[in-house]
């Protein structure tokens, strides 16, 4: 049993995880006629908690509650993967990737995520606050504006050959490259 857990605790290679993620598409279609998509759960939460008089938030979110259960499941999966099956070693980065990460002033040897940005110490760091608040805001605002996120457009949209999703994914990358290569160094240089 222990060897089995150790075996599962290694990082899973892309050719195992990618196809398994792809299987989620037919699994959701067949079990419930549902389309894979995660950012909708943010909208449903807003609709449930504070719809005010906003037309876009006034709909029967309870009819979409499956999506909130799906999001809750992702939390549980992260809990299992991050505790019981956690990999004890840092993410195996190439020498070049380590250099890029360290150039941003972030340790490359922390584990799954840098503690300075996501651990308790992040709460005492102006840089971490700005990155998390601004990054989170752009994720929520941008995903809804674009009608979906990585799961809804890149996985579900491309799997069903929808050209608007292809355009959206291309712009995800344009935005990502612009941030990584032009703007991020300024944000990461903050104290």
């Amino acid at each position: 049993m222990n060897t089995f857990i150790e075996w599962l605790s290694q990082p899973w290679p892309w050719y195992v995880s990618g196809p398994l993620i792809g299987i989620t598409v037919p699994l959701l279609l067949i079990t419930g006629n549902k389309m894979l998509g995660i950012s909708s759960s943010l909208r449903h939460t807003c609709a449930a908690v504070y719809p005010k008089n906003i037309a876009f938030l006034k709909y029967n979110w309870k009819a979409e509650s499956w999506n909130l259960f799906f999001a809750g499941g992702i939390f549980l999966g992260g809990l299992i993967g991050g505790t019981l099956l956690a990999n004890p070693d840092p993410v195996a980065l190439t020498v070049e990737a380590q250099a890029s990460v360290e150039a941003l002033g972030v340790s490359a040897r922390d584990g799954l995520l840098p503690e300075s940005l996501f651990g308790w110490e992040a709460f005492g760091s102006l840089r971490a606050w700005i990155i998390l608040v601004l990054g989170g805001f752009m994720i929520g605002f941008g995903a809804r504006y674009a009608g979906g996120c990585t799961s809804g457009h890149a996985i579900m949209g491309l799997s069903s050959l929808q050209w608007p999703s292809l355009v959206t994914v291309i712009f995800f990358f344009i935005g990502g490259l612009l941030m990584t290569h032009v703007l991020a160094p300024f944000f990461y240089a903050l104290p």
């Binding site: 899973w12 419930g32 992702i74 990999n87 993410v91 929520g140 809804r144 457009h153 959206t168 995800f172």
Partner: protein, 136 residues
Amino acid sequence: MKNIKFLLIGSLFGLILTKTEAVSWYRIQEMFHFQSFHMYGIIGSAVVVGLISVLLIRFFKVKSLGGEDIVIPDKTFNKGSIIGGTIFGMGWALSGACPGPLYALAGAGYPAIWVAIASALFGTWLYSYLRPKLPH
């Protein structure tokens, strides 16, 4: 109770994202620096398997377990695909996370991710509020 199956499928999805390190800030930095094939391999093979599945479902006219025809609504194109897509990509690269990883990392016990989740909720709310005034 009918929603329990979605909790289970979500758990598998979250476990896979976590164990393959797609939730890792490091992997996202590496992807946007073109320093590893890992993330491209994950997204690419997921799309190939998803695409083959959708084609098979359509070809054999597979029905859902509830006996309904499986319908995939068309995604519509508007200016949001470009403007919203760019904003989302910037947030993805800055924080190293997207919505799935936000939840998975909360589960994995990274306390500061809750700041990003709260901010993502506010971003969603503000988009909804400003929607009538934004170009679409």
